[in-house]
């Protein structure tokens, strides 16, 4: 009788070699739910759902289709600007002039068209150039001086705020621009920037469509293109990025110009929906955009974030802003609510990502 010796190896042999098969074997896969929760976009999505449900319960008029369209519209005007602001933040900088830059753009278009009695499209084009130039100036100053973007854009914020008021008063003798609704090309431009269309009896503003299109585009650029890779790299570690050949200056400047583009778009929307522009507006909006991006999971210090997170962040803001009105509360509470939401969302994000990435 021979006893067959069947020795079990004390340690299981590493898996056979094969492409994609062999692993280090030291890291355990975390459960999918935890992996999902670790993503900041998912956190803000849950937050947005919570706020939505809260107002569905607290403010019955919200349940109406047209209120929903209104809430989405409110969100879209924040959201369109929050997108480039978020990209810039992922790229490691932020822009305090974004709020007044919107008004600068609208004022430029309005005054160029009215004072020179030209087709509004000329004004729109000049405004685009001015907006991009503001972005170029911010970005160029940043890469030339190496100063923090906080300082540089605080400077341009104050400059633009002053110029907006002073130039408008100088040219129109008033704090607002003249009504341009009867000028050539107005209706055409309004179709693009400020029209609405009918969906099942509900008037839906076109900015909502633009918002979602831009968000999809930004997501694609961020995750699927070279440029997107560079954005993460310049925000995550500028020196490394430069050392491996990423055009850091180009990336930063173009991100600032992208914010300029966003400001132009929102500025044009405001101009063509209200026909006239109040020159003192826009102050404080830049913080709303930044807050939407931060709530959306963009890292304030750069290098991490998404384009879809700020979409939910902006939705939360629009929801609260309109929800308070529909609930019949004093709208003065809006800002207080915002602050609580910003802190709450940031803390929850922090807690969730710590809990989910714990190793």
């Amino acid at each position: 009788m021979s006893v067959t010796q069947h020795a079990e190896p004390a340690v299981t042999a590493p898996p056979a070699y094969g492409p994609g098969k062999e692993t280090d074997g030291r890291t355990r896969r975390r459960p999918l739910a935890l992996q999902l929760l670790a993503r900041p976009e998912v956190g803000v999505f849950l937050g947005a759902v919570a706020v939505f449900v809260f107002f569905l319960v607290a403010a019955p008029p919200v349940r109406d289709g047209s209120s929903m369209a209104n809430i989405l519209y409110q969100s879209s005007t924040i959201g369109i600007m929050a997108l480039p602001v978020a990209l810039l933040m992922i790229g490691g900088e932020f822009d305090l002039s974004a709020g007044v830059a919107v008004i600068t753009s609208a004022l430029t278009a309005s005054m160029v068209a009215f004072q020179l009695s030209m087709n509004v499209w000329v004004g729109v084009l000049v405004a685009l150039i001015v907006s991009l130039a503001v972005g170029l100036f911010n970005g160029w100053m940043l890469v030339r001086t190496g100063l923090p973007s906080f300082l540089i854009t605080l400077g341009s914020f104050l400059i633009l705020q002053g110029v907006n008021l002073a130039v408008t008063k100088l040219i129109t003798g008033n704090v607002a621009t003249d009504d341009i609704s009867d000028m050539d090309g107005f209706n055409q431009a309004k179709k693009i920037f400020a029209s609405s269309f009918d969906v099942g009896g509900v008037q839906v503003k076109i900015t909502i469509v633009w918002w979602l299109v831009f968000a999809a585009l930004a997501t694609w650029v961020l995750l699927r293109t070279k440029y997107g890779n560079w954005i993460f790299a310049v925000g995550g570690n500028k020196e490394s990025a430069r050392a491996v050949g990423v055009p850091v200056n180009f990336t930063k400047i173009s991100l600032f110009m992208l914010v300029g583009f966003g400001a132009w778009f929102v500025g044009m929307h405001q101009l063509f929906s209200f026909n006239t522009v109040q020159s003192g507006e826009g102050v404080g909006q830049e913080l709303i955009y930044i807050a939407a991006a931060v709530i959306g999971g963009c890292l304030l210090t750069g290098g991490s974030g998404s384009a879809i997170g700020p979409v939910f962040g902006a939705f939360m803001f629009g929801m609260v802003q309109q929800g308070i009105v529909y609930a019949g509360w004093n709208p003065d509470w809006f800002k207080a609510f915002l602050g609580v939401m910003l802190l709450g969302a940031t803390l929850i994000n922090l807690w969730v990502s710590r809990a989910a990435t714990r190793r």
């Binding site: 492409p19 994609g20 062999e22 692993t23 280090d24 074997g25 030291r26 890291t27 694609w220 699927r224 293109t225 070279k226 890779n229 993460f232 790299a233 995550g236 570690n237 020196e239 490394s240 990025a241 430069r242 050392a243 491996v244 050949g245 990423v246 890292l299 290098g303 991490s304």
Partner: protein
């Protein structure tokens, strides 16, 4: 649908067209660098040949960093000559150096910690596909290539999607080396790759240095550890106060001498007699000046 690789400078093509053995890829002749009034580097001669490891040793502040910054294109030299393939060059950006096949693996700034391993691997030289407005990253191919290249160098990672910041210091160095090798580097500059590593991880990095050398790359290995240098080096240059203190090939210098040169070399030997009068200083182990037989690079007069 031809896969393009970004700026079009790389591709493994360069690897196969290395110059005939013996001719220098990178050469410094009497090179130096002054920052305003401060002369950081002076009269440095350095030759890098394919398939050889040139070690640059020196204490802190000896000018090692300035030297690699000149070769890698972050700074420009202010005196002497810098030749690549026997042609004088003056790089203005690291991109210029990369285009000539000179890749630098920095000790601390080689990677973007929050980005996934594969994105870091291809950062700055991403593979793309599709026509312009729709040109996008070829993610599948990049992941596959990164995985293959890392395995070639013996690095096995569970998940190329994990942020590179979660890897250990040694693994990160190895990824950076593998990246440089893949992108057709002919000359690899390693800035103190073992400085922050444990014993075992240092061994792993030294193994990759040897692997890179065997693939025909010229390696410039910056370190202040003579033991690590002697394990893989073919030629040793010791910098001290911005000038060359020693330049010797492996046959001309022993590990002991190298260590002595690093530790202060001839200066320390001169101090020996003075130290002997101080109680408690053991001078028996210190070499006499005449024991240091390796050819000492004679710095031109008037150096710092």
């Amino acid at each position: 649908m031809t896969p393009t690789n970004g700026t079009g400078t790389h591709g493994a093509v360069l690897q196969d067209t290395e110059p005939e053995d013996g001719s220098a890829v990178v050469e410094l002749r009497n090179a130096g660098k002054a920052y305003g009034n401060i002369r950081a580097l002076h009269g440095v001669n350095l030759t890098v040949r394919p398939g050889q490891v040139t070690c640059v040793l020196g204490d802190n502040g000896a000018g090692k960093s300035t030297l690699i910054k000149i070769i890698s294109g972050l700074h420009q030299h202010t005196e002497g000559e810098f030749l690549v393939d026997n042609t004088p060059v003056r790089f203005t950006t690291p991109r210029d150096a990369l285009d000539k096949g000179i890749a630098t693996v920095y000790q601390d700034l080689a990677t973007v910690p929050l980005m996934p391993v594969w994105r870091n691997f291809f950062l700055g030289s991403e593979m793309t596909r599709g026509p312009w407005p729709l040109r996008r990253l070829d993610i599948e191919k990049m992941k596959k290539t990164a995985d293959h290249e890392l395995r070639e160098m013996g690095i096995v990672l569970d998940d190329l999607e994990q942020p590179i910041g979660t890897l250990s210091g040694g693994q990160r160095q190895c990824v950076a080396i593998a990246r440089a090798v893949y992108f057709g580097a002919r000359v690899l500059i390693l800035d103190e790759p073992t400085a922050a590593l444990g014993v075992k991880q240092s061994g792993v990095v030294l193994k990759y240095i040897a692997a890179a050398r065997d693939r025909g790359l010229g390696v410039i290995f910056i370190t202040h550890n003579p033991h690590h240098a002697y394990m893989v080096g073919d030629h040793f240059s010791v910098l001290r106060l911005g000038t060359m203190e020693l330049s010797a090939s492996r046959e001309q210098v022993s590990l002991e001498e190298l260590t002595n040169h690093m530790a202060g070399g001839t200066e320390l030997a001169a101090l020996k007699h003075e130290l002997a009068q101080v109680r408690g200083v053991d001078v028996e182990e210190l070499p006499e000046e005449e024991d240091l037989t390796a050819p000492v690079a004679t710095a031109p007069e008037g150096s710092a």
